[in-house]
């Protein structure tokens, strides 16, 4: 689960990372009040879970509270890379002397969190690695030991902050950076994050270290340990995905018109690939998992058939743990009733396949075809999607 900038920053603040005074606003009026409460100038920033908001006009520096209200009015309601902006963050502005990059991320190849620091912020880390390797630190954090002091020293050394650089309270910037690295690690570990990124981490003109942005991703599987973040997780899901998740399904919407339902992520991906190879396009990825009961199958059909683009439905089941007769029961339960007007191609193999096929034959659902193999099912579904939808086409499919 990705957190919005302002949620990430409140986690940052609790963890002892330096952030600027800010307020969340959901209307121009709220933004104006916020700006008036903060020291001007302020920055008004769209709160969206995507990059590129700056280029899209979602970030504006405002010298007065009136300007802040106007900026909020412009930004609220924008859609940035498909994400609607429903709130803005009004944050005190600072003069930037240097931009740094700091992140901890779960690194798959190392099976451990990776601490990444670049003395050049705002640019591509890979590019820094090529051009100025001394400015880059990439060091795995051992899951059993935690962050070690020598790793913190590596970051501080790479930053190249002079000993003269110190904040208004006299804290040397080097020491502030070391503290920030340790705090980010604690936050990463204690909140079960898979990403904690500060880009840019800046040194201000007055020598202070400040996290200007926050990008935090929390491990969905660990939300049981974080009751405070659970509500946000729920709100974050889009409606259809939420419904699918609730029913125990893995669901991803795609661009095509062939609804796909199967058991097992690999099998469903494989089905989607075979549809593409046959010249079709899948409308979704929907995995009902292992051992799914009729109700789950019914819920999956419900979600898929609610997508307008779907012109044909392909059900591909290889019964291992899953019983094909259970799947057939779910199909009958939904498709046996009125209101389903797309053709359906079903392939059942493995555990209780014969029973499942018999159940479908008995139900005599119009528009439902049982295919003899996975390959044939794909061929039929692609042909069905290409053909005009109608009773005849269905029977032929």
């Amino acid at each position: 689960m990705d957190l919005l900038e302002h949620t990430g920053k409140s986690l940052f603040a609790s963890a002892g990372l330096p952030v600027l005074p800010s307020r969340v606003a959901r209307s121009p009026a709220e933004a104006q009040v916020a700006a008036a409460e903060l020291r001007l100038p302020v920055v008004v920033k769209a709160q969206v879970k995507t990059g590129g908001r700056g280029k899209a006009g979602g970030v504006r520096v405002c010298a007065t509270d009136g300007e802040a209200a106007a900026a909020a009015a412009d930004i609220l309601g924008m859609t940035i890379r498909g994400h609607a902006v429903s709130c803005v963050l009004v944050e005190q502005a600072v003069e930037i002397a240097r931009e740094l990059y700091l992140a901890i991320s779960s690194a798959r190849t190392h099976r451990v969190p990776m601490l990444i620091f670049s003395a050049e912020g705002g640019v591509d880390v890979e590019e820094v690695a090529r051009r100025n390797p001394g400015a880059l630190v990439r060091t795995p954090v051992d899951p059993l030991l935690g962050l070690c002091d020598y790793q913190v020293r590596d970051v501080v050394a790479a930053a190249g902050l002079g000993p003269e650089l110190a904040g208004p309270d006299g804290t040397p910037a080097k020491q502030a950076l070391a503290g920030a690295v340790r705090a980010l690690w604690r936050l990463y570990r204690d909140s079960d994050a898979t990403l904690c990124e500060v880009n840019p981490l800046v040194v201000t003109a007055t020598g202070e270290l400040v996290c200007l942005d926050s990008k935090v991703t929390i491990d969905d599987n660990a939300l049981f340990r974080h009751a405070d973040l659970k509500a946000e997780a729920h709100a974050a899901k889009e409606d259809r995905e939420a419904r699918a998740h609730e029913a125990g399904l893995s669901f991803v919407a795609l661009d095509g018109d062939i609804g796909v339902l199967g058991n097992g992520a690999g099998l469903v991906m494989s089905t989607i690939d075979q549809i593409a190879a046959a010249g079709g396009a899948a409308a979704d990825f929907c995995d009902i998992g292992g051992g799914a009961r009729a109700e789950v199958v019914a819920a999956a059909l419900d979600v898929i058939l609610s997508m307008e683009a779907v012109s044909v439905l392909l059900v591909s089941i290889f019964g291992g743990i899953t019983r094909c007769d259970e799947v057939a029961r779910g199909l009958v339960q939904v498709l046996g009733h009125a209101g389903v007007d797309v053709p359906v191609v079903v392939r059942l193999d493995g555990n209780a396949a014969a029973e499942g096929r018999a159940l479908l034959a008995d139900a005599g659902i119009p528009g439902l075809t049982v295919a003899p193999s996975a390959g044939e099912a794909v061929r039929l579904a692609v042909a069905g999607a290409a053909a005009p939808a109608g009773p005849d086409a269905r029977r032929e499919g």
């Binding site: 779960s106 798959r108 190849t109 099976r111 451990v112 969190p113 051992d142 899951p143 059993l144 570990r189 079960d192 898979t194 491990d219 599987n221 660990a222 049981f224 340990r225 893995s250 991803v252 795609l254 199967g262 058991n263 097992g264 992520a265 690999g266 099998l267 469903v268 991906m269 494989s270 989607i272 690939d273 075979q274 549809i275 593409a276 190879a277 899948a282 990825f285 995995d287 292992g290 290889f318 019964g319 291992g320 743990i321 193999d349 493995g350 555990n351 193999s373 996975a374 390959g375």
Partner: protein, 294 residues
């Protein structure tokens, strides 16, 4: 002698008194597994269909000599259960549980080697040496003994491919489902190395999917270290970037981890990649044919 498990493996089931545990324990026994013990805290002294139940893994190992543990434990308790198994001297820990937090898996995979324990899974179907031992949830009746070793990131795709193999009269030595999580135990490399060294394995099938670099590393490993024929299948050509396709590990990140890249890497290493699961069979037959008549 197959890899990782065979008829000499002494299997213990953690969570045996639960619904899933009891169900799959029975299936494993039916598949020929030497099931010696179950563990369920607070249920020690009971039996489940003749299998003695212990409160903890250590006394179960002491009493029965169990060396393989299969876990049917909810995600939030899986970390502790895997560590308990390894600390008790279990050699091979098999975890089918889905949804274990990344932090927990990072700690588990860092800890298990300290006890000399191997892990299969999590979020996978376990492994099977047909008719001799099943440690996990694979549907045993799809499998038949033979000389093809298979390692896969996907459960159902495995069954599908194995079904085709069995129908074509091609049996399997050992089939390993490594699981769909980004942090997992035994992977392509470990299995390739074991299959290459295994007398009973004549050819190897890899089943991969999007995400990570496992298939690329497997390709490099095959080029260097594997003399036996290898055939692959990859799923997820149609997966959009940034979306997890069911498995936590099945995600194209940026432009990295795509099916096309993996296919290219495998083919560059001389490993044919089947266009569909059913096509694994003819590819494998062709490979075996070529070896037989040089």
């Amino acid at each position: 002698m197959a890899i990782l498990i065979d008829e000499r493996s002494r299997v213990l089931v953690q969570g045996i008194t639960g619904r899933e545990g009891a169900f799959h324990a029975a299936r494993m026994r039916a598949a020929g597994t030497n099931l010696v013990a179950g563990v369920s805290p607070g249920k020690g002294g009971q039996t489940v269909e003749g299998t003695p139940v212990f409160d903890a893994v250590a006394p179960a190992v002491a009493a029965t000599g169990a060396d393989v543990a299969v876990l049917f434990v909810p995600a939030r308790f899986a970390r502790d259960a895997m560590i308990e198994a390894a600390d008790a001297g279990i050699r091979l820990v098999v975890c089918v549980t889905e949804g274990i937090p990344v932090r927990d898996m990072a700690e588990v995979t860092a800890h298990l080697p300290r006890r000399g324990a191997l892990l299969v899974g999590p979020n996978g179907p376990g492994l099977i040496t047909p008719r001799r031992c099943s440690a996990g949830i694979m549907p045993a009746d799809v499998f038949t003994p033979g000389a093809v070793g298979l390692v896969s990131r996907s459960g159902t795709l495995t069954y599908e491919v194995v079904h085709e193999l069995t129908m074509a009269g091609i049996g399997q030595s050992t089939v390993v489902g490594m699981g769909g999580d980004p942090i997992h135990g035994v992977g392509f490399l470990e299995c390739l190395e074991l299959f290459e060294a295994d007398d009973e394995t004549a050819a190897i099938v890899l089943i991969g999917e999007i995400g990570g670099q496992g298939e690329e590393r497997a390709a490099a490993f095959v080029r260097e270290h594997v003399s036996k024929p290898v055939v692959a299948y990859i799923a997820g050509f149609g997966a959009p970037p940034g979306k997890r396709m069911g498995h936590a590990g099945a995600i194209v990140e940026g432009s990295s981890g795509t099916a096309a890249e993996k296919k290219a890497a495998l083919e560059a290493a001389g490993i044919p990649v089947a266009p569909a699961p059913a096509d694994v069979v003819p590819l494998l037959q062709a490979q075996l044919e070529r070896r037989r008549s040089p």
